[in-house]
Protein backbone atom coordinates (compact mmCIF):
# COMPACT_ATOMS: atom_id res chain seq x y z
CA UNK A 1 0.00 0.00 0.00
CA UNK A 2 2.73 2.43 1.02
CA UNK A 3 4.61 1.92 -2.23
CA UNK A 4 1.51 2.88 -4.22
CA UNK A 5 1.43 6.20 -2.36
CA UNK A 6 5.14 6.69 -3.09
CA UNK A 7 4.52 5.97 -6.78
CA UNK A 8 1.66 8.51 -6.82
CA UNK A 9 3.81 11.20 -5.18
CA UNK A 10 6.75 10.40 -7.49
CA UNK A 11 4.39 10.64 -10.47
CA UNK A 12 3.12 14.04 -9.33
CA UNK A 13 6.67 15.37 -8.88
CA UNK A 14 7.66 13.98 -12.28
CA UNK A 15 4.59 15.50 -13.96
CA UNK A 16 5.27 18.85 -12.31
CA UNK A 17 8.92 18.65 -13.40
CA UNK A 18 7.99 17.96 -17.02
CA UNK A 19 5.48 20.82 -17.14
CA UNK A 20 7.54 23.43 -15.24
CA UNK A 21 10.50 22.73 -17.53
CA UNK A 22 8.14 22.80 -20.54
CA UNK A 23 9.48 19.42 -21.69
CA UNK A 24 5.86 18.42 -22.41
CA UNK A 25 6.03 20.83 -25.34
CA UNK A 26 7.51 19.13 -28.44
CA UNK A 27 8.63 22.60 -29.64
CA UNK A 28 11.05 22.76 -26.67
CA UNK A 29 12.41 19.30 -27.45
CA UNK A 30 12.86 19.99 -31.16
CA UNK A 31 14.51 23.33 -30.22
CA UNK A 32 17.15 21.31 -28.36
CA UNK A 33 17.53 18.62 -31.04
CA UNK A 34 17.86 21.20 -33.83
CA UNK A 35 21.51 22.13 -33.49
CA UNK A 36 21.68 24.02 -36.78
CA UNK A 37 19.08 26.63 -35.84
CA UNK A 38 18.52 28.83 -32.82
CA UNK A 39 19.63 26.16 -30.31
CA UNK A 40 17.55 25.87 -27.14
CA UNK A 41 19.59 24.30 -24.30
CA UNK A 42 16.61 23.89 -21.92
CA UNK A 43 16.47 20.07 -22.32
CA UNK A 44 20.17 19.82 -21.47
CA UNK A 45 19.53 21.93 -18.35
CA UNK A 46 16.72 19.59 -17.30
CA UNK A 47 18.88 16.49 -17.73
CA UNK A 48 21.88 18.06 -16.00
CA UNK A 49 19.75 19.24 -13.09
CA UNK A 50 18.04 15.84 -12.73
CA UNK A 51 21.40 14.05 -12.83
CA UNK A 52 22.83 16.43 -10.24
CA UNK A 53 20.12 15.07 -7.91
CA UNK A 54 20.19 11.40 -8.97
CA UNK A 55 23.95 10.78 -9.41
CA UNK A 56 25.03 11.27 -5.77
CA UNK A 57 21.73 9.95 -4.31
CA UNK A 58 21.66 6.73 -6.33
CA UNK A 59 25.13 5.61 -5.32
CA UNK A 60 24.21 6.27 -1.69
CA UNK A 61 20.83 4.48 -1.89
CA UNK A 62 22.22 1.47 -3.73
CA UNK A 63 24.71 0.94 -0.94
CA UNK A 64 21.77 0.33 1.42
CA UNK A 65 20.68 -3.20 2.16
CA UNK A 66 17.17 -2.81 0.78
CA UNK A 67 14.67 -0.08 -0.14
CA UNK A 68 12.45 1.35 2.63
CA UNK A 69 9.12 -0.04 1.34
CA UNK A 70 10.12 -3.15 -0.62
CA UNK A 71 12.01 -6.40 -0.05
CA UNK A 72 14.68 -5.73 -2.64
CA UNK A 73 15.88 -3.41 -5.37
CA UNK A 74 14.41 -4.28 -8.78
CA UNK A 75 17.17 -3.25 -11.17
CA UNK A 76 17.75 -4.22 -14.81
CA UNK A 77 19.93 -7.35 -14.88
CA UNK A 78 21.34 -6.94 -18.40
CA UNK A 79 24.92 -5.71 -18.41
CA UNK A 80 26.23 -6.09 -21.95
CA UNK A 81 25.67 -3.73 -24.86
CA UNK A 82 23.77 -5.91 -27.33
CA UNK A 83 22.10 -5.50 -30.71
CA UNK A 84 18.55 -4.90 -29.38
CA UNK A 85 19.86 -2.03 -27.22
CA UNK A 86 21.59 -0.34 -30.15
CA UNK A 87 18.76 -0.91 -32.66
CA UNK A 88 16.11 0.03 -30.08
CA UNK A 89 17.86 3.25 -29.03
CA UNK A 90 18.30 4.18 -32.71
CA UNK A 91 14.62 3.59 -33.57
CA UNK A 92 13.60 5.54 -30.48
CA UNK A 93 15.91 8.36 -31.60
CA UNK A 94 14.26 8.52 -35.04
CA UNK A 95 10.78 8.55 -33.48
CA UNK A 96 11.78 11.18 -30.92
CA UNK A 97 13.26 13.41 -33.61
CA UNK A 98 10.20 13.07 -35.86
CA UNK A 99 7.59 14.02 -33.28
CA UNK A 100 9.48 15.68 -30.42
CA UNK A 101 7.72 13.37 -27.95
CA UNK A 102 9.23 10.72 -25.69
CA UNK A 103 7.03 8.55 -23.40
CA UNK A 104 6.97 10.71 -20.20
CA UNK A 105 6.04 14.02 -21.81
CA UNK A 106 3.55 12.34 -24.18
CA UNK A 107 1.65 10.64 -21.33
CA UNK A 108 1.73 13.86 -19.27
CA UNK A 109 0.51 15.94 -22.24
CA UNK A 110 -2.63 13.76 -22.34
CA UNK A 111 -4.16 16.21 -19.82
CA UNK A 112 -4.51 18.71 -22.65
CA UNK A 113 -6.95 16.22 -24.28
CA UNK A 114 -5.31 17.02 -27.61
CA UNK A 115 -6.31 14.42 -30.25
CA UNK A 116 -2.76 14.60 -31.66
CA UNK A 117 -1.28 13.59 -28.30
CA UNK A 118 -3.81 10.77 -27.93
CA UNK A 119 -2.95 9.54 -31.41
CA UNK A 120 0.76 9.56 -30.58
CA UNK A 121 0.27 7.67 -27.29
CA UNK A 122 -1.94 5.10 -28.99
CA UNK A 123 0.66 4.55 -31.73
CA UNK A 124 3.36 4.28 -29.06
CA UNK A 125 1.41 1.56 -27.21
CA UNK A 126 0.88 -0.31 -30.49
CA UNK A 127 4.63 -0.17 -31.20
CA UNK A 128 5.46 -1.33 -27.68
CA UNK A 129 2.98 -4.20 -27.90
CA UNK A 130 4.32 -5.21 -31.30
CA UNK A 131 7.70 -6.07 -29.77
CA UNK A 132 6.02 -8.14 -27.00
CA UNK A 133 3.98 -9.94 -29.64
CA UNK A 134 7.00 -10.77 -31.83
CA UNK A 135 8.99 -11.90 -28.78
CA UNK A 136 6.18 -14.21 -27.65
CA UNK A 137 5.91 -15.69 -31.15
CA UNK A 138 9.66 -16.30 -31.30
CA UNK A 139 9.67 -18.03 -27.93
CA UNK A 140 6.81 -20.30 -29.02
CA UNK A 141 8.70 -21.29 -32.17
Amino acid sequence: MKNNLVALIAGILFGLGLTISEMVDPARVIGFLDITGDWDPTLALVMASALLVTLPSFSFILRCHRPLCADKFSLPDKKNIDKPLIIGASLFGIGWGLGGFCPGPAITALVTLSPDVMLFVLAMLVGYYLVNFVNKYNVKK
Binding site: N4, V6, A7, L8, A10, G11, I12, L13, F14, G15, G17, T19, I20, S21, E22, P26, D34, P41, T42, L45, V46, M47, S49, V53, T54, L55, S57, F58, S59, L62, R66, P67, L68, F73, I81, L85, I86, A89, S90, F92, G93, I94, G95, W96, L98, G99, C102, P103, G104, A106, I107, T108, A109, V111, S114, F120, A123, M124, Y128, V131
Partner: protein, 139 residues
Protein backbone atom coordinates in the same frame (compact mmCIF):
# COMPACT_ATOMS: atom_id res chain seq x y z
CA UNK B 1 12.39 29.96 -28.20
CA UNK B 2 14.10 31.67 -25.30
CA UNK B 3 15.92 29.33 -22.91
CA UNK B 4 13.83 28.48 -19.86
CA UNK B 5 16.64 28.60 -17.27
CA UNK B 6 14.60 28.61 -14.09
CA UNK B 7 11.96 26.14 -15.31
CA UNK B 8 14.61 23.82 -16.73
CA UNK B 9 16.68 23.69 -13.56
CA UNK B 10 13.69 23.49 -11.17
CA UNK B 11 11.85 20.97 -13.36
CA UNK B 12 14.95 18.80 -13.73
CA UNK B 13 15.44 18.79 -9.95
CA UNK B 14 11.83 17.65 -9.43
CA UNK B 15 12.31 14.84 -11.97
CA UNK B 16 15.51 13.83 -10.17
CA UNK B 17 13.73 13.92 -6.80
CA UNK B 18 10.95 11.71 -8.20
CA UNK B 19 13.52 9.12 -9.35
CA UNK B 20 15.26 9.25 -5.96
CA UNK B 21 11.99 8.61 -4.06
CA UNK B 22 11.13 5.67 -6.32
CA UNK B 23 14.51 4.04 -5.76
CA UNK B 24 14.78 4.84 -2.05
CA UNK B 25 11.29 3.67 -1.07
CA UNK B 26 10.24 1.20 -3.78
CA UNK B 27 13.60 0.03 -5.11
CA UNK B 28 12.40 0.83 -8.61
CA UNK B 29 13.84 2.60 -11.63
CA UNK B 30 11.66 5.48 -12.84
CA UNK B 31 11.47 4.56 -16.51
CA UNK B 32 8.26 5.84 -18.02
CA UNK B 33 8.32 3.60 -21.12
CA UNK B 34 8.69 0.51 -18.94
CA UNK B 35 6.07 1.65 -16.42
CA UNK B 36 3.51 2.31 -19.16
CA UNK B 37 4.50 -0.66 -21.34
CA UNK B 38 4.36 -3.16 -18.47
CA UNK B 39 0.68 -2.35 -18.06
CA UNK B 40 0.15 -4.08 -21.42
CA UNK B 41 1.26 -7.47 -20.12
CA UNK B 42 -0.47 -9.85 -17.75
CA UNK B 43 0.77 -9.44 -14.19
CA UNK B 44 -0.48 -9.52 -10.60
CA UNK B 45 -2.69 -6.64 -9.44
CA UNK B 46 -0.11 -5.13 -7.06
CA UNK B 47 2.43 -4.91 -9.90
CA UNK B 48 -0.16 -3.08 -11.98
CA UNK B 49 -1.32 -0.80 -9.20
CA UNK B 50 1.88 1.12 -8.46
CA UNK B 51 2.44 1.67 -12.17
CA UNK B 52 -1.11 2.97 -12.61
CA UNK B 53 -0.60 5.24 -9.57
CA UNK B 54 2.57 6.70 -11.10
CA UNK B 55 0.74 7.49 -14.36
CA UNK B 56 -2.18 9.05 -12.49
CA UNK B 57 0.45 11.10 -10.64
CA UNK B 58 1.95 12.34 -13.92
CA UNK B 59 -1.46 13.60 -15.06
CA UNK B 60 -2.22 15.02 -11.61
CA UNK B 61 1.12 16.87 -11.58
CA UNK B 62 0.30 18.43 -14.94
CA UNK B 63 -3.15 19.30 -13.56
CA UNK B 64 -1.55 21.15 -10.64
CA UNK B 65 0.61 23.07 -13.11
CA UNK B 66 -2.49 24.07 -15.11
CA UNK B 67 -4.31 25.10 -11.92
CA UNK B 68 -1.42 27.40 -10.96
CA UNK B 69 -0.26 28.58 -14.36
CA UNK B 70 -3.65 28.74 -16.03
CA UNK B 71 -2.71 26.78 -19.14
CA UNK B 72 -0.40 24.17 -20.62
CA UNK B 73 0.85 25.08 -24.06
CA UNK B 74 2.02 22.42 -26.45
CA UNK B 75 2.97 22.97 -30.08
CA UNK B 76 2.87 19.92 -32.35
CA UNK B 77 5.92 19.58 -34.56
CA UNK B 78 4.64 16.99 -37.03
CA UNK B 79 1.63 16.12 -39.15
CA UNK B 80 -0.76 13.44 -37.90
CA UNK B 81 0.65 10.73 -40.16
CA UNK B 82 4.19 11.58 -39.06
CA UNK B 83 3.04 11.54 -35.41
CA UNK B 84 1.67 8.01 -35.84
CA UNK B 85 4.94 6.82 -37.41
CA UNK B 86 6.87 8.61 -34.66
CA UNK B 87 4.75 6.99 -31.94
CA UNK B 88 5.19 3.49 -33.37
CA UNK B 89 8.96 3.98 -33.57
CA UNK B 90 9.13 5.30 -29.99
CA UNK B 91 7.10 2.30 -28.80
CA UNK B 92 9.18 -0.30 -30.65
CA UNK B 93 12.47 1.44 -29.85
CA UNK B 94 11.93 1.89 -26.12
CA UNK B 95 10.77 -1.72 -25.69
CA UNK B 96 13.61 -3.21 -27.75
CA UNK B 97 16.16 -0.82 -26.22
CA UNK B 98 14.81 -1.34 -22.65
CA UNK B 99 14.22 2.32 -21.88
CA UNK B 100 13.70 5.94 -22.79
CA UNK B 101 14.89 9.38 -21.69
CA UNK B 102 13.89 8.78 -18.05
CA UNK B 103 14.97 5.15 -17.55
CA UNK B 104 18.25 5.38 -19.45
CA UNK B 105 18.89 9.13 -19.41
CA UNK B 106 18.07 10.07 -15.82
CA UNK B 107 18.22 6.78 -13.86
CA UNK B 108 20.60 4.61 -15.89
CA UNK B 109 23.32 7.23 -16.11
CA UNK B 110 22.95 7.81 -12.36
CA UNK B 111 23.57 4.06 -11.85
CA UNK B 112 26.61 4.49 -14.11
CA UNK B 113 25.22 1.73 -16.36
CA UNK B 114 27.25 1.23 -19.54
CA UNK B 115 24.10 0.18 -21.40
CA UNK B 116 22.23 3.34 -20.42
CA UNK B 117 25.12 5.69 -21.23
CA UNK B 118 25.42 4.04 -24.65
CA UNK B 119 21.66 4.15 -25.30
CA UNK B 120 21.40 7.82 -24.27
CA UNK B 121 24.27 8.86 -26.54
CA UNK B 122 22.69 6.92 -29.42
CA UNK B 123 19.14 8.22 -29.10
CA UNK B 124 20.15 11.84 -28.61
CA UNK B 125 22.51 11.86 -31.62
CA UNK B 126 20.10 9.93 -33.86
CA UNK B 127 17.27 12.29 -32.85
CA UNK B 128 19.45 15.31 -33.73
CA UNK B 129 20.29 13.73 -37.08
CA UNK B 130 16.59 12.97 -37.69
CA UNK B 131 15.61 16.60 -37.03
CA UNK B 132 18.36 17.75 -39.41
CA UNK B 133 17.21 15.41 -42.21
CA UNK B 134 13.53 16.16 -41.58
CA UNK B 135 14.20 19.87 -42.06
CA UNK B 136 16.31 19.29 -45.19
CA UNK B 137 13.40 17.32 -46.65
CA UNK B 138 11.00 20.06 -45.58
CA UNK B 139 8.75 17.63 -43.67
Amino acid sequence: METNWLGGIAGGALIGLSAVLMLLFNGRITGVSGIVGSLLINQPLNERLWRAMFIIGLLFGAGIYIAIHGELNIHMQASRSLLILSGILVGIGTNLGSGCTSGHGVCGIARRSQRSITATLIFISIAMLTVFIKQKLGL
